[in-house]
Assembly symmetry: C2
Homo-oligomer: 350 residues x 2
């Protein structure tokens, strides 16, 4: 009943549904979604406690803007599952889980400024609503709050310090990844290897840190917490590669932002890099005034070149490798859920 | 030989020199400057070790841009002195001192974006050189590096956590202060009380945290570390009030940025608030296209209203109160230097 999507099911889904992998979700996967939703709700409920609206109100509303608009809570849920998978209790690491979600939202606010994005989670981005200067502050404040919340976690002092050190190093990685991503937009010759390094820093590292922090704070042995880092790193990489796929195949009403936004922003995704290597040209890359029909033609070209399938298959192999790393853990409900979480990374619609 | 400026000397300096308080520095104060410069050099030498240039190079050059351009290193020097004043060793808390300087520089990079400032320390601001998006990242990365460096300090784990918790709370304060400062620019009715709260959060809190962290990491008793926080808070408040004075009275070639920049940015400083309360109007407040002669006239009006003297006297009283708090400390060279540092806050030219 609690099993995971088998690889062949997943593959056949992809083959059948083309670009709508997430459309057909088996019932067992829905249960896992429900369980994940429970964890997400735990995080949702905690956010107002850790980030209450106080003076100056405007700043706190700006900090809470995206947080309150929902989000999948994947990173904090992963942290809570990691704690349970190593025999700890989710309640004990809840502050750390909230901290991870705050960090994620801080990066969203600042990234949206850099990408000049208007919409996120179906609502105006923070800088659209409050202007760039105040959006910068709201992001900085969320980051500060995250460190404050993590430093107040209930655990061995040495475990807390290890977690803070890991998180801060990870945030340096995030910045490096974001910087590389921006540099890539001025270049036509970005290699797949460079793209992978960027994704590892920009996305995978925070998933990996979330998992490892859940384990560290729960007193896991070093090899176990490292395995959870590896799992998070691999699943996070698969997540980002698939995120680039979703940007192209999911309609705006589901995605909460414009379809093909990455193309308009000129992002060098794995799909674009692969298409370039096959001699495909995408004229509207980096053109903010592209029409809907131009976008539609670009997506069709990427589809027909096989570059979208290439990225989907890459994502799948990372997810499968990530799941295999979990064999070090004893069987538990949480372990099953982590496997399910990895599958969800490439079975989601947005 | 190592005494400090006496209050009456300071007062007479102000009375004699009007707006050039920093011009006449007694020899004993110069010695203290030398001692402070030693601490500053220790910090200077450590910065490249803690923030080496690595891949992606551009990001690290942007992070180091203002750090390498100098700066007074007041916060890290204060932290090192606090450690010595409670019987600790400066070398042991050097990572924490560097962390404080990184935090300060992170706030400078982001504040310069918000203030649309072109110059800092006589060189182009980070966003002028690299653009706003990359300046946001460089700031975020410096902040992350600061937490990473602090978490690697050599001290009791519980002391490190206490320091990180204090620093992160302080950074939330900084954001609140910066947010308030921005809100003030749209209002004509900012009260002196509101201004004081803003200054306490935006500037005094980080000085206070620097001092207390130096003490905490050196194992000081709670009342002693609290006294050092109080000292930093009071001296930091005096520092900021006097900073607003300096903005008006120091020529561009010494200041490293345009004279009267606060007026052009529309900042509600204590001087402006006091002048408003006396019915003085400053037409060029918030006007970026003010001419030099308009600026000169505005400064004369503020001078003649007594508002600049009002701010100078406020600054002095905070500095004096800050020094008096230090009586809890045993006599030491470091204690003398802390007293000298407080005096320096209002005896500097930039």
């Amino acid at each position: 009943m609690f099993g995971t999507l088998k690889e062949n099911e997943l593959q056949s889904n992809i083959k059948i549904s083309g670009f709508h992998l997430g459309k057909i979700l088996p019932a067992k996967c829905e249960y896992q979604n429900m369980y994940l939703q429970e964890k997400a709700k735990l995080v949702d409920k905690s956010i107002p406690k850790f980030v209450p609206i106080t003076h100056p109100d405007g700043m706190y509303y700006a900090m809470r803007h995206l947080l309150d608009a929902g989000g999948k809570r994947l990173r904090p849920s992963a942290l809570l599952l990691a704690a349970e998978a190593v025999g700890g209790r989710a309640e004990n690491v809840l502050p750390a889980a909230v901290a991870l979600e705050l960090i994620h939202n801080f990066t969203l606010i600042h990234d949206d400024i850099m990408d000049e994005a208007d919409l996120r989670r179906g609502i105006p981005t923070v800088h659209k609503k409050w202007g760039v200067p105040k959006a910068i502050i709201a992001g900085d404040a969320l980051y500060s709050k995250a460190i404050e919340v993590l430093s107040s976690a209930k655990s061995e002092p040495s475990h807390i310090i290890e977690s803070i050190e890991l998180l801060s190093k990870t945030c340096v990685d995030l910045c490096e990844g974001q910087w590389m991503d921006m540099d890539f937009q001025d270049r036509k010759d970005v290699t797949e290897e460079e793209y992978m390094t960027m994704v590892e820093k920009k996305t995978a590292a925070l998933f990996a840190a979330a998992l490892k922090i859940g384990a560290i704070l729960s007193g896991a042995k070093r090899d176990v917490s490292q395995a959870l880092w590896d799992y998070g790193f691999l699943a996070g990489t698969g997540f980002q590669i698939y995120d680039d796929v979703i940007d192209l195949i999911t309609p705006e009403e589901i995605l909460g932002k414009a379809q093909g936004g990455d193309i308009i922003e000129g992002k060098r995704t794995l799909i674009i890099i692969n298409a370039f290597s096959k001699g495909v040209t995408i004229d509207i890359l980096g053109k903010s005034n592209a029409t809907r029909s131009e976008m539609s033609a670009a997506i069709t070209a990427l589809k027909e070149s096989g570059s979208i399938d290439y990225a989907i298959n890459k994502a799948i192999s990372f997810i499968e490798e990530g799941k295999s790393v979990l064999k070090i853990l004893p069987n538990s409900e949480a372990k099953k859920m982590l496997i399910g979480l990895a599958d969800y990374m490439i079975a989601r619609k947005y």
